[in-house]
């Protein structure tokens, strides 16, 4: 069995909703069935085989051979299996994903990992704004699982995030961890303005000194034994966070304007 591969016939003019192309949605479908799946593209509804050349037969292993930033909702509500995207992905990558792995070898659009509750999302590139955040109207962002971004993340990464781990190996934009409810965000690079803005609970791990606003309070340097456990749990992860080994950090509590049970741990390396 070879991976089920979708190759775009041409760069589409309109955005395409790829939510039906996940392992659980395609389970038990024949090649003909898969080709006949209707996809929304702009204001048109088109057959999958009109947009993609489709090959392979293993629906648990899906590959988008030439992704582009117009492919929205890849891996939405996915429960198991694996999706690999060569090239970029559009908005809402891994939207409400419950399980399984997504590996993106390119850049993701906005709202990647929004509402995700389980599994891995590994972005080998940059993520757009609102990584792991809630979509407008929702009150909780990502609620479980693991996101690794090897590049940079845009603004509002982890906005209203509820649970799970987001590890950004590059920089994060403005308002990182804003209104965060719980969970863990790590950023190896720099953060923009107002990190932890309105943060309620949760942990933000930073490795470059952030510019903090007034309602985040410096609690001094601490040696925190739990960091050793956390580092151990990261040991098998792909990427740079596997090498985390510090247990000493400067702790900031906040945002005091919103309950103030969150913490920002700044490591000095």
């Amino acid at each position: 069995m070879s991976a089920l591969t979708f190759t775009l016939k041409k760069i589409p003019q309109q955005r395409i909703d790829c939510a039906p192309l996940t392992p659980n949605m395609l389970a038990g479908k024949s090649a003909a069935d898969i080709g006949a799946i209707l996809l929304q593209s702009g204001n048109e509804t088109l057959r999958a085989d009109a947009l993609f050349d489709i090959s392979g037969d293993n629906v648990a292993e899906i590959v988008f051979a030439n992704g582009c930033d117009k492919l929205d909702y890849i891996g939405a509500a996915m429960q198991s299996g694996r999706i690999t995207i060569h090239g970029d992905a559009g908005w809402y990558l891994g939207f409400r994903k419950k399980g399984g792995d997504i590996v993106l070898r390119g850049n993701a659009g906005d709202f990647a990992a929004s509402g995700m509750t389980g599994g891995l999302l590994h972005i080998h590139g940059n993520a757009g704004d609102f990584l792991a955040a809630a979509i407008p109207g929702d009150r909780k962002g990502m609620a479980g699982g693991l996101v690794i971004v090897t590049g940079n993340a845009g603004d509002r990464a982890g906005d209203q995030m509820r649970r799970g781990i987001v590890l950004i190996e590059g920089d994060a934009g403005d308002y990182c961890a804003s209104r965060m409810i719980a969970g863990t965000i790590g950023v190896l690079g720099a953060t923009g303005a107002y990190p932890g803005y309105g943060m309620k609970r949760g942990t933000l791990l930073l490795f470059k000194p952030p510019k903090l606003h007034a309602t985040l309070q410096d609690c001094g340097m601490h040696t925190l034994p739990f960091l050793k456990l956390m580092a151990k749990s990261f040991r098998d992860l792909p990427g740079k966070f596997a090498h985390l080994d510090q247990t000493r950090a400067r702790r900031y509590a906040g945002d005091l304007a919103n309950d103030g049970k969150g913490e920002i741990l700044v490591f000095s390396n």
Partner: protein, 558 residues
């Protein structure tokens, strides 16, 4: 243009026709007598074996006004999970519990409904409610203006103004807000909430005005009757949802002293305090009282299980319920000097003791009230369930074994508290036609709707008779609106815009002097700006205003 509907089995309770095979003729949007033999029939629909009824009328459904819009903006998830794509004819929309205006209109028509009445039009927000209803296609609309908790009315009562002055104010309110009638929500209670009272029983005084709900109900029911408004005072009682409120409801019935009164969503007002959990069914007592008091009518406000949202002017109750919201969010607000508003999303669960018993209480009331002309089929959309569940509700009423099968799956403790399984009654098609057509039209005061006699507007629904009543009522074969075919096989084939129904009782214009002074002193806009004009309802000719007849001033007869 002459259209013939031939050979259908007709149910027209207004004329006592119960399943008679007959022809119906339509000319220029009206039902006409059988034409002369030499007249040419332009179009004939052969309806042999089909069931023909007037278009259904929902006499209590929240489809317009501020609270519906708040519910929409509060529930993005309701919209995301239920999108309705555009078609060649219909525009796109969304929403399960609170659909967008266009989608609401389409869905009503697709179920054979041709009219719906918004029961809580705050006079101050009447313009917005009418604009929203004006944007609801397919069906006729109308609203009941809300009084009873507004400061001017309570001031007048506190100042012991005579009934004539009150009558003039009530009539002025109907005219200014283009209403079909008057509704009272938690009589005086919404106002009392503003003075920090959290409960208000029938004989409890508003701490500021010293007025009791009993006085409000009595004065307003008398005013509506004396003005000759066909729709009796539409009452959302006090103590909604509070165990033991069956006493309040029974006292309210007695409190109007024989004047006509319509008790709305009475299921929510029929709770006793028996049993281990101090929550029990008061349905039998309520039904007995309705059977006895011929001046009382009621609609049920049946709950059905699933996600919905409760929208109400009853800010006092909604403030109590806010904690129960699911998903947990709520809005409670004052609205000028008029009243209030509360919106709480709610999920009724079949394994929840209270919800399961509420379900049973609603059905008990349906089945124990003898006279279908005085009990009406509603879910208080969207408070008990969205209106799209009406076919399911009709099946529950018409099919005893189906009803008992569902009942047997509910919370076991609730089952032991209900007599539902012992009730054998099944509604007939004729009785359903009374509840949803003839009776509703008569209650609301629609003289040319809800029946199939000559002169009536040709709002007609044709169903295929099916033992599965849910299937039958969910998908009519044909729906005619004012003589035009608008739905075929449960799908829209033509979009029309319906009309707005109003009444215009006579009154002494000099009352405006007092109202104007009050507006100038307390309100944010001028009195003249608050009035809704016909041109606004007609919307450039897309819709029209139908003024239904008032009987003229009358004195108490009994």
């Amino acid at each position: 243009m002459l259209t013939k509907l031939s050979g259908g089995t007709v149910y027209d309770p207004a004329h006592g026709i119960n399943g008679k095979v007959m022809d119906i003729y339509i000319r220029d949007g009206r039902i006409v007598e059988r034409p002369r033999d030499d007249e040419r029939i332009d179009h004939e629909y052969k309806l042999g074996g089909k069931v023909v009824m007037a278009g259904a009328i929902d006499m209590h459904t929240h489809i317009g006004g501020g609270k519906v819009n708040i519910a929409r903006s509060m529930l993005p998830e309701d919209h995301r999970h239920d999108p309705a794509a555009h078609s060649g004819l219909c525009r796109a929309g969304c929403g399960h519990a609170v659909p967008s205006t266009l989608t609401a209109g389409y869905r009503y028509a697709e179920m054979g409904y041709t009219a719906g009445f918004e029961p809580a039009v705050l006079p101050m927000n009447a313009r917005q409610a009418h604009l929203e209803m004006g944007d609801t296609p397919m069906i006729d609309k109308g609203g009941y203006a809300m009084l009873g908790s507004d400061d001017l009315f309570l001031r007048m009562l506190a100042a012991k103004k005579d009934q004539n002055a009150i009558n003039d104010y009530v009539a002025w309110t109907i005219a200014a807000s283009q209403g079909m009638g008057i509704k009272v929500v938690n009589a005086g209670g919404i106002n009392a909430f503003k003075f920090n009272q959290r409960f208000l029983d029938l004989d409890e005084k508003n701490s500021h005005y010293g007025i009791t709900p009993r006085e409000v109900l009595k004065t307003l029911s008398r005013a509506v009757y004396e003005l000759g408004v066909p729709h009796p005072l539409h009452v959302h009682g006090n103590n909604l949802g509070v165990p033991g409120n069956v006493e309040t409801t029974l006292n309210s019935m007695a409190g109007v002293e024989g004047y006509p009164m319509h008790l709305t969503h009475i299921q929510f007002h029929s709770y006793g305090v028996e049993g281990d959990r101090k929550f029990s069914s008061g349905a039998a007592r309520i039904a007995e009282a309705i059977n006895k008091n011929k001046n009382i009518s009621a609609d049920v406000g049946q709950i059905l299980f699933g996600q919905t949202v409760t929208v109400s002017g009853d800010q006092m109750s909604q403030f109590r319920n806010a904690e129960l919201g699911s998903p947990r969010k709520a809005v409670c607000m004052d609205i000028e000097c008029d009243a209030g508003c509360g919106v709480v999303p709610f999920k009724y669960k079949d394994q929840n003791f209270v919800n399961a018993l509420q379900w049973a209480i609603g059905l008990e009331i349906f089945l124990l009230v003898d006279d279908p002309w005085r009990i009406f089929l509603t879910t208080d959309h969207p408070n008990g369930a969205p209106f799209t569940s009406y076919p399911h509700l009709i099946k529950l009423l018409m099919d005893k074994s189906f009803r008992n099968d569902v009942f047997a799956t509910l919370n076991a403790d609730a089952q032991t508290m209900s007599t539902l399984a012992s009730i054998d009654r099944e509604y007939s098609l004729y009785e359903i036609a009374i509840m949803t057509r003839a009776g509703a039209a008569r209650l609301v005061g629609l003289h040319d709707r809800g029946h199939l006699g000559a002169g009536a507007a040709a709002d007609i629904t044709v169903y295929t008779d099916d033992a599965d009543r849910e299937k039958m009522f969910a998908k009519p074969d044909y729906v005619f609106k004012d003589g035009q075919l608008v739905v075929r096989d449960g799908g829209i084939v033509k979009v029309v815009w319906g009309a707005t129904h109003t009444v215009r009782p006579e009154f002494d214009r000099s009352i405006e002097k007092e109202i104007k002074t009050y507006f100038d002193k307390y309100h944010t806009i001028k009195m003249e700006h608050m009035k809704v004009g016909d041109d606004e309802l007609e919307d450039g000719g897309r819709s029209r205003v139908i003024v239904q007849e008032c009987k003229g001033r009358r004195e108490k007869t009994a």
